[in-house]
Structure formats: C-alpha cells, structure tokens
C-alpha cells in the first residue's frame, strides 16, 4: 500500500518540483501562472483574512440548499413514478422534454426573476439535482423485490406507510448513490453559476483574483475548490460504505 501511494504521489510531486524550479530559474512574470510556493502562501493569506472561508461558506450553503430541495422534489417524483406505471408513462414526454435543458441555460431566467444572490443559485442547483435523483430513485423503486410489495398489500398498509416503511428503506442504498452523484453536481453547478454571473462564493472569488491579476491567489482558489470537491466525494463514499456496505455497490454504475 505504501509503495502504491508513493507511486501515486510521484507524478504530482515531480510536476510541482519541476514547475517551482522552472519558475524560479526563469524569474517567471505571468498573469496566469505562479510558482507553487507562492500559491501556498496566497492560500495561507486567504485563510488568514478569512476571505476564502467566507466564500466557501457561501458556495457550500447554496450548493447544499439546492441539493436538499432538488433531492426532495426528485425523490417525490421518482418514488411516485416508480410506484405507478400509469403515471410514469403519462409523464414520460413531459419529463423527456424538460430534462435535456442544460441547467446553466436557466441562469438568465433565474437572474431576471430572482436577481443576484443565493436564491437564483439555489434554484439552478436544485433544477440540476432533480434529474439524477428522479431517474435513479425511479429505477430503485421499480427494482424492489416484488414480494416486499406483496407483504405491504397483505398488511393493508395505507399508501403513506407503504412508502415510509417498505419502499424508502428498500430503495435507500441506491437512492444514496444518486444523492452522492447529485452532491458532486450541486458543487459543480454552484461554482459554475458563480463564475458565470453570481457575485458570491468561491467562483466569484476566483474570478476576482483573475481580474486583479493575482495568478497566485487565482490558482490558490483553484486548488482549494479542487480540494473541496475531492473531500466531498471521499466523505460521501465513506458514508456510503459505512451506512450500506455492499448493498449500495450493486446499484453503483462504476
């Protein structure tokens, strides 16, 4: 394992060292590149004046709020479509007509309807998160062991209890996989909206650093955004393994 991780680290370390040496040797003057040591210093500076932490809070707040709303809507429709084949078939054309709209195309609509700020970003993130949750939870509900549904019928559970006691627990491992996918999408969409137009959060921070011709700070933001994306992914994979173990793997496309 240690040999494996040493090999995994060899390439990035070599690239960073070469970059550092090259930048020092040529006395690099650039609007787009900075030696790694300067990037680390800029990152420390941004932590010291709390600016990057405030930006992180704004981005994560928008991303998670959108994710929560998108998950609830997607799950409600996904479970309804999974239970009722009639409903699913009737809604098919409507769903297939709205789903391919790229989330970012809604940006101008959200902009004139809601203005700049958290709300428009949350709406766009929620729209992007609805679809993977809807599609995957629909598939998860459909693949529930039919005998479980027979039990629910035999016990004459009312519909609400049938969903709560049978369907959600049975489909939960695969729903969590969908949630993990959507969490990644939520972060991507939040940062994209901020970079494109919304003046808050990490995306606005990195754009500002670029416009201020601070390549060290810009790349520090890039590294930090990458670290958050990676940490979020690791966290959710660990949670998935802890909570569901092998049960989730069968529903995982990877």
């Amino acid at each position: 394992m240690t040999a494996g991780s040493a090999k995994a680290l060899a390439l990035p370390l070599a690239v960073l060292a070469a970059f550092e040496l090259g930048a020092r040797a040529t006395h690099l003057q650039s609007d787009s590149l900075a030696p790694p040591s300067d990037i680390v210093m800029a990152l420390f500076g941004a932590f010291a004046d709390l600016s990057i932490l405030a930006a992180t809070r704004d981005t994560l707040f928008s991303a998670f709020a959108g994710l929560a709303i998108g998950t609830i809507i997607g799950l409600a429709f996904g479970i309804a479509f999974g239970i009722s084949d009639t409903l699913n078939r009737l809604m098919e054309v409507t769903v297939e007509a709205i789903r391919p709209i790229p989330s970012i195309a809604l940006l101008p609509i959200a902009l004139i309807a809601l203005g700049f700020g958290y709300r428009m970003e949350i709406v766009i993130v929620a729209f992007a998160c609805v679809w993977p949750i809807l599609i995957l939870s629909r598939a998860a509900v459909r693949s529930i062991e039919p005998r479980l549904m027979e039990v629910a019928r035999a016990l004459r559970l009312p519909p609400a209890q049938r969903v709560w006691k049978i369907i959600i627990p049975a489909a939960l491992p695969r729903i969590f996989v969908a949630f993990r996918l959507s969490a990644g999408i939520a972060l991507i969409v939040a940062v994209t909206v901020e970079i494109a137009i919304n003046p808050l959060g990490l995306g606005a921070g990195i754009m500002l650093a670029q416009q201020a011709l601070r390549p060290d700070l810009m790349l520090a933001y890039l590294v930090w955004i990458g670290a958050i994306g990676y940490a979020l992914n690791v966290l959710l994979v660990v949670a998935q393994n802890r909570l569901f173990g092998r049960a989730a793997v069968s529903g995982d496309g990877r």
């Binding site: 494996g4 991780s5 090999k7 995994a8 680290l9 060899a10 390439l11 990035p12 609007d31 787009s32 078939r89 009737l90 809604m91 098919e92 054309v93 409507t94 297939e96 007509a97 709205i98 391919p100 709209i101 790229p102 989330s103 970012i104 195309a105 809604l106 940006l107 101008p108 609509i109 902009l111 004139i112 309807a113 990644g184 972060l187 991507i188 940062v191 994209t192 970079i195 494109a196 137009i197 990490l202 995306g203 990195i206 754009m207 650093a209 670029q210 011709l213 390549p215 810009m218 790349l219 933001y221 890039l222 955004i225 990458g226 994306g229 990676y230 979020l232 992914n233």
Partner: protein
C-alpha cells in the same frame, strides 16, 4: 411498437400538451408577471421570428460549432491519452491516481485560468470545453482498456503483435462501449461549458443570446433561446444514442 405502446405515447403527449395549456393559462391570467413568464404563444412567435430572420440560425450554429469543436478535440485527445495510459501497467500505477484526484474538480473553475492565459477569445472557449469534456472520455478509455479480457492480450503476445496493433485491433474495439458511454456524458458537459463560455466571453451563440435577452427583459426571446438549448441537448443525445447503437451492433450480434 405495438398498439398499446402507441396509445401510451399519445396519452403522454396529451399530458405534455395539457401542461403547455396550463402555462398558457397562467400567462394569459397574468398570474406571473409577463416580464418573467411569456406565454408559449409568445415564445413560439419569437422562435418563428428568430428563425425566419436568420438570427437564431446563426446563434444556434455558433453554439453547435463551439460544442462540436471542443467535443471532437476532447474525444480525439481523450481516447489517445486514455489509450496510452490504459495500455501500460506502469502508466496506470503512476498516472491514474492523479487523474482520479482531479476528477471531482468542478471543471468550470478552470475558466478564470483559461481567461488569464488566452483572454476572452474563441481559443479560450475551445480550451475550456475540451478540457471539461476530456475527463469522462479519457477515464472511460482507461477503464475500458484495463477491463479487456486478459486472454485477448495473451493471444496478442503469442501472435507477436506490436503495441500499436494490440491497441487498434484488440483493446479499442473491446473498450468501445465504455468509450462511447464516456463520449455521451461529455456531450452534455460540452453543451453546458459552451453556454458558460458564450455568457462570459460574449461569443456568438445561444448562451450570449439568452443573456442579452434577459438583460433587455425580452422574455419571449429568452424562453425561445432556452427552448432551443433544450432541443439541442435532446437532439445531440438522441443522435449519440443512435450512433452508439449502430457502432456497437457487431457486439450485440456476437452474444
């Protein structure tokens, strides 16, 4: 399709038409201000006007062009780099972990860096779109190469095939379902990044068009643009599915 399926389709279209009717009703009753929500009639009229004056054609062509160039470049580079990494065990152990580390990075975060290097230009858009679209293709290629049936490699060794021949004759065909799936994912990424680049850099395309319409509060034009972007997403993904089906027909026939 049998008759039942056709009937369901018709019913499903009727439901969608019902929603459009509801949208019209909401717009007519002005439940939502017409500044934000034009009726489907006004959005449709704007689509017709835009296409007959040729305005929307050129915007659509601009977006498709950005998307296609970026995606094609990403496909060629992604398959080539993926093949080089995937066909060598040494490369896989040294390079693949770094790629896995970079994968969850929100690719749009590369946009400011690209702007700093290349300015607000077409080259910037091409770089950003292909950088974003390359990941699914490259990772799918590496994965597909790693999953090739080992006995096929043994056959190649006993036939003393060169590495290039192994890649072209054994690994690529065997990995093609993975690669095509990656290319389909990338198509969506390419469309989204095209729109973002057009918004940021003011490049000719639908992204720029919807932003300008929003700024001028021309909501009918805005909705026309968004509908057209949805159609673009739908048509490209259907076309990709058809191509996938055609290209993989030989594989289905084998089983």
């Amino acid at each position: 399709m049998n008759r039942g399926a056709i009937l369901w389709r018709v019913a499903s279209f009727a439901v969608a038409a019902g929603f459009i009717g509801l949208w019209q009703l909401i717009a007519n009753l002005k439940l939502v201000s017409p500044v934000f929500l034009p009726g489907p009639d006004r959005a449709w009229a704007s689509l017709v006007r835009g296409f007959s004056s040729g305005d929307l054609w050129s915007k659509l062509a601009g977006t498709l062009e950005h998307m296609a160039y970026g995606w094609l470049l990403a496909s060629i580079a992604g398959i080539a780099i993926g093949a080089i990494i995937g066909s060598s065990r040494t490369m896989r152990t040294y390079v693949a972990p770094s790629l896995e580390f970079l994968r969850p990075l929100p690719v749009s975060a590369i946009i400011p860096v690209a702007i700093a290097m290349l300015g607000l230009t077409q080259a910037m858009a091409l770089f950003v779109i292909s950088f974003g679209a390359i990941w699914p293709i490259m990772l799918a290629t590496i994965h597909g190469f790693a999953a090739v049936e080992p006995r096929l490699y043994e056959v190649a060794r006993s036939l003393q095939m060169s590495r290039l021949a192994v890649i072209l004759k054994i690994a690529l065909p065997s990995a093609s379902p993975d690669i095509l799936a990656g290319m389909r994912l990338s198509l969506t990424v390419a469309l989204i990044l095209s729109v973002v680049c057009e918004i940021l850099a003011g490049l000719d395309g639908l992204g720029h068009w919807v932003l300008l319409s929003a700024r001028a509060f021309r909501s009918a034009d805005l909705f026309a643009g968004v509908i057209l972007l949805g159609v673009t997403g739908y048509v490209t993904s259907v076309a990709m599915s058809l191509a996938e089906h055609k290209l993989l027909a030989w594989q289905a026939a084998q089983h």
